[in-house]
Symmetry: D3
Subunit: 329 residues, 6 copies
């Protein structure tokens, strides 16, 4: 019934406009984001049937999360509701060279962090589903979330779903040691590992002379079928370069590097995952899927909020483009 | 050094504009409010030297609370800082007949809720101070906050400060039974009890044939020197009537009833307390102080945010006014 | 699979803030609304499974309509897409006594107005559905829309769906004579007629000494099973009274009259229909359903945009309320 | 070439939104207003050819005044420019019962206040013009402005223009004694005096048992051909009653009293003048002109900014209306 | 009476702020723009007397177009009004590398598109005028607009006005073949052709080894007295290079290339035309006029909306500048 | 009691958003700024006890200045109040290459410009203070301000305070000749001169083959103990390079050059002064203080408003940074 299901935390994102610092804010723009939700949204916008699983408070803010997932066409029927807990919040301010953008998390004791094993019926959720996506954030939320993540990944693997895992190390949630101890046991369930430039070194201590070697080491260590490493160069805060590589069957796939003007980079890695998963699960080979992942990630940089406000047509136009920047009229 | 010190929780207030429901919000107006802070602000704007004590997270939101207190001239030198906790948040939406305005609290585990006895040095804080103000919200926040509230009230009483207490029952924090059990032991330290129409019945089960009788019963039960009861009539959501009575030395003081167009009623009771305390601590008698309290409360209804954005001159003009509504030019 | 399906036009609503006149606008608030969509949204929020059928342009504005329907949980799988047409727009400004609010329609040649018979497969759409809702706006849009409306109503009736019809006369779309000629033939398919105070007189020339008599005449003339007449008194622009009556089986049902502060009255009649249909299709009797319809209509007045941003819990609380306007905290 | 010319000061109006107090402002809405400009705008929107004369600084703010006059169709070819002076500013905050709206003027040393006799060539300006309008604000600005006002009024009278004068006493510009001394000598040039309820008493010390008597006294004292007195009742800040009377040829003309919801009352008196002058100069009798004046004043209350953002059609519809408050669609 | 008259379509421009995609818009900034209007505004701001001719709906949006033209000092007395048609709208979103900005037109059946020959009295309009400006958009709007454009250009030529024509090919209005067939017959009336880099190739199939050769071919093919080609390099979306060349009397004129940070590039070509025409019609030679055109175009990039919110002084300062970017204070 | 005291003018800053030109503004963002206030704010945020002295009007705008100083922790107890004067205003618009940002001052006759000798009791103000800061703006405001500045600097010197002076030449206040004549006599009281690249040449006519030579000449001419010269390169409007040098005891200190994306450069020089003074007065040597000054100046470019919305921790992180631009999470 669904191509892919994601499980994790969605938060109320409160960001300031016009580069205001958080401390001087007199208003906040309010949107919804969360790593796994963002992936489901991108994949859905491009064409997959996706469902998002989380635990939400039964109040206007919890409903807002459900609304915004539905608005994008993401199924929310597996979401469970809490009568007492809160929605996690994150505060975001945008920077300018040499000050990077910054985030304050206020996510402790959110409804999803207080999830307990047994609350979600994974057998039912995974019936008629082809793939499962989760990130390293979800197990980091709490012991309960770790337990439910493990439950979900094991069950997904047993049922033959493709399991993708974005490492997404969050230093504000746990130490590198805790992350290594917590995440290593989960790696046996993972088919596709997605990671950013820095996170493998920080979590698994895996480094190499180049990213290709890192990918090979990751695959060798954990037995992943595929490893994707996204590579960002922060030329300035408002100007980045972006590309990614994928390792599969001992072969490294590469794509061109994009020059990017940055409107809002939050969620770019998730857009990569969504674009790659869309294309790969649609039957394309890794080389093609990598192009979709990169184009989706790149377009995300020009969209405000965590979400992928673009279309399949735009992704494909970018893949084929020669850099035409005229206004279309 | 200070006329009065307040102790309690200040929160980030996130409200929607244009009567938007919280569920449909795309942005929030951000201000700071908190019952005891609001009282200190009103009293300071009218003329007292006031200080505000709380515990804040050492991050931009915590600094925002300190900033906004200082902006109003309220001393913040006694505030203590936490490196790990959060700032409480409340979400506010404005209603229209027949739907009242509504608040969602997200205050659990705030820095102030996680305060512990001994963190604040009340002897030092209360040196050279004449009065102490606290509300029934602070002890309701947590066991630690209850303990510190008790510590503070007892010490204030011992040092001969005038202790004022606004009952402020919050059903979202504890049950009526819990409130009664928790607050009753504190009443022995209270000189001036301030309460709204409903709260004495809900917390102490004290009711009477009229508000005068209720005030007498309260004084008789707990031995308060003064009891103030604020009386609001919700004609509609946008139109209220407001007055208050005060009992002192077995005598009931009354004031005129004001007809009020409501811009933002949050903090009106605190403005009453601030206006009354300003006048009373400035040496006026109860009848005069009651007039200042009512005028301050009434003006608060026309100010956005929890705070009393008006001046002593405006309060005194209203007290003497014959209802001139011409634009001053 | 669905309790009820609605068919009609949804528009981009561009309204000014702060009572600005349209002529002086420097920005517009953008939301989505449409009579049948509004009904589906209310019914869905209260508990029915609803689906909305329309024809949209394949561009960001068309997608916005689908998004906003999905956001509310309304199914959009039956929507059809046009590669060349436009989305209808309406411009709205809010008034103040003695100037009423006003609307400019810019809806000619919208994708839905250019629909043609055969574009929608009603047999498929109506499989596993219990009810169908349409208003007098849809057939007024164009000859094609009239033809498809007729097609839909006839097929709904044949398949035994309950057909509800909100008369909704729009003088800017057609004359009273055209409306009478166009709508009269459709009345044979209607089970429940919903109409405002003025519209029966304007469209069918039916008047009476009171609304009860009008309802009886309507039922007698067209053979409706039920007739609902909503009754609004414009005390001022910002203050209205609201109630409604329903006729069924020769009996008139009445409910209390609500005193309403008006934030945004657009869509109130649709909220009535949605509330009534929710309750009636959930198995309640007419008297109960009338209460749900009125409470939903009344709450709509306090919500910005055309849509019913409230919950079943709020509707039921209002029905049982004694007018408590305290802030819930 | 013009029906009427106005002369005076236009200011940058900086007002807060959402009832924010000036002291708490983080942004201001910026518009342009000025008594004589407002009158020229209303008269122009209804149908007269109008021109506005002032002195402006040659900077973006000065150009903004010219732009906004031109936007409304008011001629600006007689405006003169200063290379060194400033534009006057006024700050406006909106009140709510029992606190009235308030204005801070920051108009000292504006370009128009620094005007000197001879800077404007009244002979040229008054060629082919039928009427001249000025208010008691212009001569109050400075000695230079008083001299130029006198120059203009005398010359207008000599050339046979109808001279209208709105008393508009501004306590923040001069005392009642100064106003009396300054304005009395100008009255000999005035054909039509327009005044509010309070101003004749404050400036000329003329009071009576009713407004009719006051009008008669004014005419008797100064020899005005016509006297118009506008009558406002401040029921609350957001709800006013409005009407006016006119005395001509010893006869009092009256009109109905309007019940008004107040969005922005600044400029209502100017709209009255503009509506009355439009109708009277178009050849209607006083009774008709009074109706246009009142309807224009009343509609102004529902328009944000000082200006009359309505049409002749709307004025005439209101005059003929029976109070229909349905949304026109 | 006028130096130059422009004829074409002005639209309501609805753009999103903060780089929001159109699909996610919750509000739109509203301004007015249109190729020929933009040219008249620039020329007027720099010093010419200009008039703008179009056909508008008699509603608030049509009045908004007239207002905004008048605000800039552009005469609107030749505008004609429709009681039934609509104003064209365009939706604009701003991009970031590698996604260009994008426009959705919603202009079909606008009042100007429904114009018919005879509605405008060109003999009267062209009395006492020196020049006429039109673009390739106007004849593309409809058959009626093509007929009236032809009518106007022929009559202008006959009366000896200088006719300037900006090719402005719009792929969303017609195909390249349609444009060639439609525009070629009009070229005989054109004195000055203005075109962008791409449009001559797309419409006339004229290409060359460099822009100089293209200009020569255009002049040779159609007999233009002058040809101006504007040359933009999209370094990124937010950074462009700009210059232009002009051919006259077989000689190519060039100017420096400007490095431009892009705030809003819509209307830059029109600003070039306005700046060039201002200078040329003021009696300057082509080399000087080219400098004014380029400086105006370049300054336009830093102004929001389609319009040229700058002054002659700023244009001349830029022409003479050495790149001083200090804040003037 | 204070580490440093600043004396000067604070203004209401009215800036447009989204790069709007001032002439097209429909709203202004309102903040408070002033050279000496900005320095006190930066120094306070980093850790000094600072006090700000000025003269303000007793109205909401004057209170706003006091509020915003207090909000930052700056003492305001020495401020004096005027019952009749105004607050200075400056209007700011942001530019884009090749158009620089621009400011309109409207500061004539402000309360501080109308200060007179004797109004401030410098003996009392300077009791228990270590340093005094003033800029070349304050004496330029008026004769009275010049007299009070001289009074203050002489007294500060006499009392042994460290006197720092930022040259800050403002061409809109006085000519270069006037500045030279006015400022030269004050230089004898100055310990630390801070100047921008251009100002020494413009005011003192001091130029050299490099900045080091200029610093030496300044020290030689006036006997300053220290000279700081800030060096900005305007690569574009949105991209600057920044560094500074300091001369002390015949030695030149240098620091690295920062590459800066510019959000709002107003107040950067003041942030340099604040950062340098903080560090130097905290006991660090010149080399260290220079680093703090530069880092503070650089961070200021990324903060909206004149003020230094950053922390000591951020300054120190930047000083030690290797340019990590990842989002901290």
């Amino acid at each position: 019934m669904f191509d892919i299901i994601g499980f994790g935390e969605a938060q109320l994102r409160l960001s300031t406009a016009h580069f205001q610092r958080l401390e001087q804010a007199t208003s906040f723009d309010a949107t919804i984001g969360g790593a796994e939700l963002n992936v489901m949204v991108t994949a859905r916008r491009l064409g997959l049937k996706t469902s998002y699983v989380t635990r939400l408070p039964r109040n206007p803010l919890g409903r807002m999360v459900q609304n915004k997932a539905r608005e994008q066409g993401v199924d929310t029927s597996n979401i469970i509701w809490s009568d007492s807990d809160r929605l996690g919040v994150y505060f975001l301010e945008f920077g300018a060279l040499p000050r990077p953008s910054a985030i304050i998390y206020d996510r402790t004791n959110s409804a999803i962090a207080r999830i307990q094993p047994g609350m979600l019926d994974w057998d039912s959720i995974f019936s008629e589903v082809r793939a499962f996506h989760i990130t390293g954030i979800t197990p980091a939320l709490s012991q309960g979330a770790m337990a439910v993540s493990t439950e979900a990944m094991r069950r997904a693997k047993e049922k033959g779903l493709q399991v993708s895992f974005d490492l997404n190390y969050r230093a504000k949630l746990w130490t590198q040691e805790q992350a290594k101890a917590g995440l290593s046991p989960l790696m046996e369930y993972v088919d596709l590992l997605i990671t950013t430039e820095e996170d493998t070194a920080r979590v698994f201590g895996i480094e190499g002379k180049d990213w290709s070697e890192v990918a090979h080491q990751l695959a060798a260590t954990f037995g992943f079928k595929m490893v994707a490493i996204t590579l960002r160069e922060n030329v300035t805060v408002w100007r980045n370069n972006w590309t990614a590589i994928v390792l599969k069957d001992n072969r490294i796939y590469q794509d061109r590097t994009y020059d990017v003007e940055v409107v809002d980079r939050v969620g770019s890695g998730d857009a990569f995952a969504g674009g790659f998963l869309y294309s790969y699960l649609s039957g394309n080979d890794v080389q093609v899927a990598l192009r979709y992942g990169n184009a989706a990630a790149v377009l995300k940089h020009s969209c405000t909020s965590d979400l992928a406000w673009f279309t399949l047509e735009e992704v494909e136009k970018l893949i084929q483009s020669q850099g035409d920047l005229r206004i279309s009229r």
